[in-house]
Amino acid sequence: MTEERPGDESPRLQEFQTQVEDLRLSGGRANPERAAVRLALVLFVVAVVIEIVAFNGSSSASDSRDQTDFVILALLGVVVALGAVGLFIRASLTRYFRYWLVRLVYEDRANTDRLIEALRSGREK
């Protein structure tokens, strides 16, 4: 069979080659949700650091204009923290729903198998 390869020049294989060339790769990230959760945790730590810096800065500043700068920095910290929380919830929910879907499919299959088995044994009786 190796001598004859009718598929070698086939349009389907050329199309396949083109589609493979166009494939987007994730760049070696096997688990994007895990990476997102880690990123969210890092961002949250960064937000906490920003808040501490802003708090210390504003409490040591006597000029209200300097304090305004630290308030802006604190707001930036809040935004980073909110972003981190959003990313964490999104990634966690994605992981959870993926597991839930797999579980649902598995249980559905098991139920169908039980039903079919019951139907078969009913027919035999």
């Binding site: 069979m1 190796t2 004859e4 390869r5 009718p6 598929g7 070698d8 020049e9 086939s10 389907r12 294989l13 050329q14 199309e15 396949f16 080659q17 589609q19 493979v20 060339e21 494939l23 987007r24 790769l25 994730s26 760049g27 070696g28 990230r29 096997a30 559905d108 299959r109 139920n111 169908t112 198998d113 039903l115 079919i116 139907l119 078969r120």
Partner: protein, 241 residues
Amino acid sequence: MTTAAPLLELRGVRAGYGIIDVLHGVDLVLQSGEVLALLGPNGAGKSTTLAVASGQIEPSSGQLLIGGREVNGARPDALARSGVCLVPEGRGIFPNLTVTENLRMMTFAGTSFSAIQEKAYELFPRLEERRRQLAGTLSGGEQQMLAMARAMATDPALLMLDELSMGLAPIIVDELYSQVATLARTGLSILIVEQFAKTVLGVADTAAIMLHGRVTRTGRPDEIAEELTAAYLGIESGGHQ
């Protein structure tokens, strides 16, 4: 494929589940238009190899190449859409849907339902007689036919079959493999994973033996057939790749 690159190639692939490595440096080559039989005992890593080739498991090291392009990290659905099709062990059909509904699920790739039905029933006329029957109530052989028909409906460029013969009577296995031979004659590249070799070696152009997460021997089916028993029993045959 016009390029000289193999349709599918695994180079030094290591992969597994969590921290447990199952594949310890798999090297495998499937040329375009070829039928490759990957044989080995239970737990050798054959199904994991297919999971890697179909993008379900990303190699921890090594390369997965399709048509010469490294596709480590490609999403399994993207690979499936482009034409890499896996018929998993256990058939992977929807047992609580009818035969027709199972075929309708394959319209995801954009192929019309009528074209899918036409192709499926041409390949396996028995499915047309059973089209309103729940897939779970089909016989094992018919379920496998449905699984293959679903795979062929997407017009794959690379078809991977995992344990096609599992739990089936020899006469049904022969019937299924005669269909595989028909598909192979159209130039479709096929990678078949099996534990039991007799029938598959009659269809394959090349065969490989897999043991303990490595491909230990690749060769012509007649050569492999002679070494298979020894390999399964863990006796060194000396002909390592």
